[in-house]
């Protein structure tokens, strides 16, 4: 059973991910707690780079891999959404 989005930011972010990475999935079916990389949506470092550009342009938040929390931030849609909420400038 798929968990539902906890906020409109999560919903918007799911659409941004699908659009940016041309994933053939319905954004509404992305489980917000499922892993994004590896076994989950199967994203890789090129996706991370493309996604970081989209996030920076949309929310004004620049991701850094030196951030000790980076693995946690990219662990799921919910974690990424929370990090954006905390750091967004637009």
């Amino acid at each position: 059973m798929t968990e539902s989005f906890a906020s409109s930011l999560e919903r918007d972010l799911a659409s941004l991910i699908v659009q940016t990475l041309k994933l053939k999935v319905d954004p509404a079916t992305i489980n917000p707690t499922q892993t994004l990389f590896g076994d989950g949506l199967g994203l890789d470092s090129i996706d991370a780079l493309e996604l970081s550009l989209a996030i920076s342009q949309t929310y004004g938040y620049q991701l850094k891999s030196s951030d000790p929390e980076i693995k946690a931030i990219f662990s799921s849609l919910r974690a990424l959404s929370n990090a954006i909420e905390k750091n967004r400038t637009k």
Binding site: L49, S52, S56, K64
Partner: protein
């Protein structure tokens, strides 16, 4: 001359590398190498997967001192690692504490310890010693080994440095976004600094903000070794960086327009290297000057019937150029694209035949094919796969592929189809595949 020193002109207390926690001097480096060389198992070969560029170099140097060959897998896919470890049965894996590889004996690097005295003579490595084997993906599915002697690696580094007019007095630091286990990364971010006495940044920045921070961490002339993908990201993001001395790009052709933008944005020259794993770096150009490549000194292109071969004093036999090229009378050349079966995604080269083979190996897959659509507006154009596998789901097949191939080659999208549009001779015309993919995509968007 039968051997050359492990490192070029460094002062014992001069900085050789920048680690996350600070500088490593040449003295520290030689201490670290000698301690590791004393502790690694007595084996003929090592898979060096260390993620810090400095630690990788320590492992690489220690292996050479022990006469061990460093194996450079083309990907970290578990199946690739196990295949290589299967072919080099007595190899071990040098890896980070938190990333052991299942099924292969793993040795971890201890953090650096006490300083040893500066040796009276820096260790020398024989020119004909095989220092590394770089693997490329072959058309049969087996990784193809490309042997690299210490003589070849140092010769390429010297020729590249001469072409780029690098001098020891520059005190330049190399910051690289490319992996050091990749041939271009090994040559430009490991060999180039140590042969010329430059400083290496140990990190591998990915995001534009990381690249900016890594460049800001170091002093003196900064050399950025990177790819068109990272350059595009930095220019799009508009990151502000300290003045750069040089940008060196490889792994995929850099569009003229991007090179111009990058030169303007970074206020420096952007040069490109042309090369491939079998021969190493072959030629250089400043991208905005035109599309002709200038072979490095000592490199000659010779025609052998329909194919072009690279000849140098350090390659035991001439090596075939995998791309379609035309060579001018003065030896400069233009690249027209990859050979028929070869594709390159973000610097990772693979044979489509190899990918198709791996797809067909999956249980339940009756027929299937990978192909590369026409380039779009994205940073990277991804492969598409059409697969006939009744009763299987897209997720099941993606899962199985993930265990077999490098993630950059995972199909985006993978389309399940009732049958492939094979023609009378059993061939799959590209147009028919593109049309099929288009129809499928439309179908999906209607459902969504």
């Amino acid at each position: 001359m039968h051997d050359v020193p492990l490192i070029g002109p460094y002062n014992p207390d001069g900085v050789l590398a920048w680690e996350t926690d600070g500088p490593r001097t040449a003295r520290q480096f030689l201490s670290d190498v000698s301690r590791l060389a004393d502790s690694v198992p007595d084996r003929p070969a090592v898979l060096n997967l260390l993620s810090s560029r400095y630690e990788f170099l320590v492992g690489f140097a220690a292996a050479m001192l022990r006469g061990q060959i460093t194996l450079l897998p083309q990907s970290r896919a578990p199946q690739t690692l196990r295949r290589i470890a299967g072919d080099y049965r007595e190899s071990y894996c040098l890896t980070n504490q938190d990333e052991p590889v299942e099924g292969i004996e793993s040795v971890f690097l201890r953090s650096h310890g006490s300083l040893a005295a500066w040796p009276t003579r820096i260790p020398h490595i024989p020119l004909d010693q095989v220092a590394a084997i770089a693997f490329t993906s072959g058309s049969t599915g087996q990784p193809m080994p490309n042997r690299k002697t210490w003589g070849a690696l140092t010769a390429v580094a010297r020729a590249t440095g001469a072409r780029l007019q690098l001098t020891t007095g520059d005190q330049a630091t190399v910051v690289a976004t490319v992996p050091h286990q990749h041939m271009f990364g090994l040559e430009a971010s490991v060999m180039l600094p140590i042969v010329h006495g430059l400083v290496m940044h140990a990190g591998r920045p990915l995001f534009p903000a990381d690249i900016r921070d890594a460049l800001a961490e170091v002093a003196g002339k900064r050399i950025l070794v990177t790819t068109p993908l990272h350059l595009r990201a930095c220019v799009t993001e508009g990151v502000r960086v300290p003045p750069l001395g040089l940008i060196l790009s490889a792994t995929a052709p850099l569009p003229q327009s991007l090179a111009q933008e990058a030169e303007r944005h970074f206020q420096t020259e952007v040069h490109e290297i042309f090369g491939f794993a079998e021969a190493g770096s072959v030629a250089e150009r400043r991208t905005i000057d035109g599309d002709r490549w200038r072979p490095l000194d000592g490199v000659r292109l010779a025609q052998d019937q329909a194919v072009w071969m690279v000849q140098t004093s350090y390659l035991p036999t001439p090596v075939r150029v995998p791309d379609r090229i035309t060579v001018d009378a003065d030896g400069q050349f233009v690249v027209h694209g990859r050979g028929v079966d070869q594709i390159n995604i973000a610097g990772h080269r693979v044979s489509l035949g190899d990918l198709n083979q791996k797809l067909l190996e999956i249980e339940g897959v009756q027929d299937g094919v990978f192909f590369l659509p026409d380039e779009g507006a994205d940073l990277v154009t991804r492969l598409i796969a059409c697969v006939v596998a009744p009763g299987k789901t897209v997720e099941e097949i993606q899962q199985a592929l993930r265990r077999r191939i490098d993630p950059v080659f995972l199909p985006r999208p993978l389309l399940l189809v009732p049958r492939l549009p094979r023609n009378d001779t059993g061939k799959l015309p590209r147009e028919a595949l593109l049309k099929l993919a288009e129809q499928q995509a439309e179908g999906l968007s209607h459902e969504a």
